[in-house]
Subunit: 221 residues, 2 copies
């Protein structure tokens, strides 16, 4: 008799991928462009979402799923700018998974949404291992974190479609070397698109808005 | 017949705590003050360690265990200032555990050490759940991460003995409200000691050095 070996990690990831595919089908059916936003704590995920809502909400309907270990401070900020939002508290969990996102989708007016942001838990280690049903995996790196982050968290950079390089307004006060940063990121992920921006001053944001709008239109077909 | 229920999470944490107690006994026997340093990626863990080695290495022998998901860039920096160092790569793991630290201890000249820094993986979620054998749990929060971090990662702030508030040199360019930050941290952890510093300019560092030296002397007895 053969012995059944269950690889727990693989099984959980497998189940998550099935659920992510289900979420994606549901979002594709409604032509909702979905962006999974990942970063360190405090790199600017909520700022990017708020700025983008302010810029694009006259033309497109935008909803947000907020993932946090605790609190609903980000969801309150999104709610204040008038976008439908669901807060998921992971109760200590390091990342969102597709099952949590399904619950989020159940609680959003999906028939009235063109663009969905999923703000993941602030963490550079695990979130990239869990597909959620997204079209675009976006990570934010911020200048104060240092230009060595791609060396230290390579998987996150390798698995992202887009890197937003935020807080460029602080460049004069930091030792961040953008060329060195780009070289490592390009080595890990030659297809990645990098947008240097300052969510605070707005510098560089137009390029991101234009690119994202192109993706929304592409998805609408 | 009763059914045996194994709580996997608890069991693993239990085993970790046993190993942490063993590590602590080993370090106590040699009167080595041990500091577990935790923070977000890029908040300044390595900078704090390097500045402290430069300041105190004439009087005390300092060793370092470096924890990272990947790479040995931090260990190379520590080696360059002449301190014994061991690099642990967690291969995707979110935190150090006591078993990894035991391996680190096996590879350090413990008979010649007064102060041991353990630089944990850059992460605000899991590291505080794993005792390593340390005397002091220290976390670094940096101004660019924002003053709302204690709301969003409360367990890390609640479980730390010391909070180093780093990158105060950037205050003029940020919206960070130190008073608001302190109020939440004090609420979570009334006994915590907060040192506002700039590892870059050195402002505030003398208070940290003096406090740490007091702890080293206390441990020596």
């Amino acid at each position: 008799m053969s012995i059944k070996v269950i690889q727990v990690g693989e099984k959980i990831l497998g189940k998550n991928e099935d659920k992510a595919a289900e979420n994606k089908k549901r979002l594709d059916g409604r032509k909702i462009l979905t962006v999974n936003i990942m970063s360190s704590p405090g790199a600017g995920k909520t700022s990017l979402i708020l700025s983008t809502i302010k810029q694009l909400s006259k033309k497109y309907k935008i909803a947000v799923i907020e993932g946090d270990v605790a609190s609903s401070v980000d969801a309150e900020k999104v709610n204040a700018v008038g976008a439908p939002v669901v807060q998921i508290n992971t109760q200590g969990g390091c990342h969102l998974d597709a099952f949590m996102v399904e619950e989020g989708l159940d609680n959003l007016p999906l028939d009235k949404v063109d663009l969905l942001f999923i703000e993941n838990v602030g963490n550079l280690i695990c979130p990239n291992n869990y597909l959620l049903g997204e079209d675009i995996r976006l990570m934010i790196a911020s200048l104060p974190e240092g230009d060595d982050k791609p060396y230290k968290y390579p998987a996150m950079f390798a698995d992202s479609d887009v890197v937003i390089l935020n807080k460029t307004d602080l460049q004069p006060y930091l030792d961040f070397k953008e060329k060195a940063f780009r070289q490592v990121v390009d080595g890990l992920n030659p297809d990645v698109i990098i947008f240097p921006v300052s969510c605070k001053t707005g510098v560089g944001m137009q390029e991101w808005f234009t690119w994202l709008e192109g993706k929304i239109k592409e998805k609408k077909g």
